[in-house]
Amino acid sequence: MHQSLFVYGGFRYFKLSLLLLIAAVVAYFWHEPVDGPNGGTWLGYTLGGLGAFLILLLMWFGMRKRSYKSSMGRVEGWLSAHVYLGLALIVISTLHAGFQIGWNLHTLAYVLMLIVIASGIFGVYAYLRYPQLMTENRRGKTLDTIMAEMAELDRECRDAAAQLTDDISQSVLNCCEKTRIGGSVMRQLSGKDNNCATQRALDEVTRLSKSLPREQTDDGRRLLMLLGKKNELVQRARRDVQYKALLDIWLFFHVPLSFALLAALSAHVVSIFFYW
């Protein structure tokens, strides 16, 4: 997928964006407005209009990708254009502003735009990196099957620990009843659980199994093997959740902030003409 994103249509949108970018930069340096470069010159209005149009176009991608019936270009093309035009927008809007920044609505819109684009850049990176890592981590399984395996291991652990000491059985019971995958946003993103019941059970059983009577050492060894196997599955499941979270998290900035940007952009445009 990511291959086609960049090379789509023979780098069609890369070329278009490059052309826009070069045209904007050349115009900026050729144009010498008497009051210095700013958004209020004819070039400033032109670049501002172009920038606003691009923002609307880029946001329309969210509509286009949901509209399966639409015949307005292929989604791959839209995505390719979304990425390249989004990057060109950094330069176009900066030149529109003539590098003037301040504590005002206009700079708020600019900063929101930069954050949206930055999150988009992370999104592109995420789509290039994490799907592959996810595939490698899952080893042909899905999170559901990994969790089903964990549940099966729970049963086996209980069997193995049935005649072992109450301390061990309590650890195993905790491991079965308290192990969890994912959780809060931070826990999903970190891929870790510092209070992991499985890890704790593994540690405790490792310690307790040393003092098992001779006739129970086989059961103890089997239990340790099962817990180790479960622990490995738990790590893998958490990593899977982590990759998925990393693959998704930028969208939770990208999309809401792009709507904040849309609002700030509208206010920016209205304010310019309101106080013309």
């Binding site: 008497v34 009051d35 210095g36 700013n38 958004g39 209020g40 003037q100 301040g102 504590w103 005002n104 609505l105 206009h106 708020l108 999170l143 969790m147 964990m150 549940a151 729970d154 049963r155 209980r158 620990a161 049935a162 005649q163 109450d166 059985s169 019971l173 079965c176 009843e177 308290k178 192990t179 969890r180 995958i181 994912g182 959780g183 809060s184 946003v185 999903q188 959740v241 998925k244 979270a245 998704d248 998290i249 969208l251 939770f252 999309v255 809401p256 792009s258 709507f259 904040a260 609002a263 700030a264 509208s266 206010a267 209205v270 304010s271 310019i272 003409f273 309101f274 106080y275 013309w276």
Partner: protein, 575 residues
């Protein structure tokens, strides 16, 4: 002890099945371990959970250390058992029931809390997507959109139309005055920076000049349409050139186009003596000096502009040869010969822009003494007061004549002879002496005016030779600046030598010479707007002002527009 144990199982469709066992032993041990008399396989039961003892026909239960036991819903470590008691052991409920004949004890055992589905429970405990963890794109999108629109669009607009809201949010960063401000003000406008409506008086309307003339009524317009019939001349809005919000010193246009747009072909647009100009470096007429012309008939000065290339001759009525004064071998003076320099007479004024006026007393009198009596060089006639000169002379020589002893062969004896102390001249003698004094004053006056003093510098005409004699001195008017349409600051050029620009002064024999350099001299250092290597970029406004109309102010223009309904220009042009 013989105990009847009945294991109960509830069916899914209701109803109850049971499996009975008889357990025999000294006591009844309960636990997960297979060596217990009552073996409960569920993992949640301890290996050795509790034991039921028979003490003389009475039954007691005791929990094994660390195990949890609930008897009739109360936690206990031990208890005596009676019929109907319910004991919870892990997920099992054990109830004491009536024992059959021949049995010591009868209990029922039921697994009431099933372990449940591991996978289902695991999934319930786990949160594996960000959306499930509470993040919602749609919700956040709406929230952000509404907050930003409300704070930065709705609120400023509401505050513009409603004074109550305006006052409520005054000085808050969400008001238009702060949030919408697109850049710093020109520093002079900073004092009303917190009120957008001072300039932006109507929504969606560009800033009108009416806002500017609230303060700038006394600012001159560019040109008076009475003299320059160009209707567009005064139609341009102030804000066309004066772009606000571009920093503290960004309000004045400095580009050539400000002037060049019209002045490049001004002759095609209006009847004017002004010459076309577009760029100082490339397209600018030679300088023309504005000089004084003296009209002898009416004895008044008029001004005239003459291009420097046409060798203008100024009529200041002063005789002054620069070459003699700047003689490198020196000028004879009372203290001997002295080499004079420009700065001896031309001193910068306080601001440094121009030069102080030349004054006879300060700059000339040291050499050009107005003394009239060689025996008394301290006495001088006053300068500049024509009538007083003769009075001074008459007074002086009257005094001399009455005192006597004056060394003059032609004088009468009463004037010539020394007097004895106490001698009082007769009326006749005094008359004679004063007659002589009058003649002497006349004679000396003639010598001063026409001979050795006044006429060195001034044009003197004898108006009447009869007594009292009268001379006329042509008034002197020296140009303060020959290029009044431009601003030239000597201070900014102080690192240069005077002769770099005024080199002709040392060769100038007459004061009629206009000793300023032509445009080529300036262009040695100054280029136009376009940068030239080793030259200073200079645009029109570096030397010229824009608001030049002497008698037509912005306030006048605004009043005319408001009164007549016509444009200010049309009104003033009488159209």
């Amino acid at each position: 002890m013989q105990c009847n144990v009945s294991f109960l199982t509830r069916k899914s469709r209701g109803g109850l099945t049971h499996r009975d066992e008889v357990v025999t032993g000294g006591s009844l041990r309960i636990g997960r371990s297979t060596d217990n008399e009552l073996y409960l396989s569920d993992f949640r039961v301890s290996l050795h959970h509790a034991t039921i003892h028979n003490r003389q026909g009475r039954f007691y239960i005791e929990a094994e250390s660390g195990s949890d036991l609930r008897i009739n819903n109360s936690i206990a470590q031990s208890a005596r058992l009676n019929k109907g008691d319910k004991i919870a052991v892990g997920p099992y409920d054990i109830e004491i029931v009536t024992a059959e004949e021949g049995k010591d004890l009868a209990i029922t055992v039921e697994l009431v809390r099933q372990l449940g589905d591991d996978l289902k429970n695991l999934k319930e405990r786990s949160v594996t997507t960000l959306a499930d963890a509470g993040l919602g794109r749609r919700r956040m999108s709406w929230l952000f959109f509404i907050v930003v629109t409300g704070l930065f669009l709705a609120l400023p607009i509401a505050a513009f139309y409603d004074e109550g809201i305006r006052n409520l949010f005054k000085d808050q960063p969400v008001t238009a005055d702060i949030a919408w401000k697109s850049g710093d003000f020109e520093s002079a406008h900073e004092f009303f920076a917190d009120d957008c409506t001072a300039c932006h008086q109507e929504a969606f309307v560009t800033v009108r000049d009416v806002a500017c003339v609230t303060c700038h009524t006394e600012t001159h317009t560019h040109a008076d349409p009475q003299f320059y019939e160009i209707s567009e001349l005064n139609e341009t809005r102030c804000a066309t050139c004066h772009k606000e919000h571009n920093g503290r010193d960004g309000l004045v246009r400095r580009d050539e186009a400000l002037c060049g747009d019209c002045h490049k072909d001004l002759d095609e647009q209006a009847t004017t003596e002004l010459k076309n100009a577009r760029d100082f470096g490339k397209d600018h007429p030679d300088f023309s000096a504005t000089m004084f012309r003296y009209n002898k008939q009416v004895k008044e000065f008029t001004t005239e502009r003459v291009a420097l290339k046409d060798k203008p001759r100024e009529q200041s009525n002063l005789k002054f040869p620069h070459d003699e004064h700047l003689n490198p071998e020196g000028v004879d003076g009372p203290g001997g010969s002295r080499v004079m320099v420009c700065a001896d007479c031309h001193e910068p004024d306080k601001g440094g822009a121009g030069l102080k006026p030349i004054s006879m007393e300060q700059h000339c009198a040291e050499c050009h003494s107005l003394e009239f009596e060689p025996d008394n060089p301290q006495r001088v006639v006053p300068h500049g007061k024509l009538d007083h000169v003769l009075y001074t002379l008459q007074e002086y020589y009257g005094n001399v004549a009455l005192q006597g002893g004056y060394d003059d062969l032609d004088a009468p004896a009463i004037v010539k002879n020394r007097r004895r102390p106490g001698y009082k001249p007769s009326r006749q003698e005094r008359k004679l002496a004063l007659e002589w004094a009058k003649d002497k004053a006349y004679e000396i006056g003639e010598d001063l005016f026409e001979g050795r003093v006044c006429s060195s510098c001034h044009t003197v005409t004898a108006v009447s030779k009869n007594y009292p004699p009268k001379w006329d001195i042509a008034p002197v008017k020296i140009a303060d600046t020959w290029l009044p349409k431009s601003r030239f600051t000597h201070k900014k050029h102080e690192t240069m030598d005077c002769v770099d620009c005024h080199g002709d002064a040392s060769k100038s024999e007459k004061s009629e010479d206009v000793l300023i350099p032509g445009i080529d001299n300036c262009r040695e250092c100054h280029a136009g707007q376009e940068h030239v290597r080793n030259k200073i970029d200079s645009t029109c406004v570096d030397c010229h002002g824009f608001h030049l109309a002497e008698d037509f102010l912005l306030g006048d223009r605004h009043n005319m527009k408001t009164r007549s309904g016509k444009s200010g220009t049309a009104a003033r042009m009488g159209k």
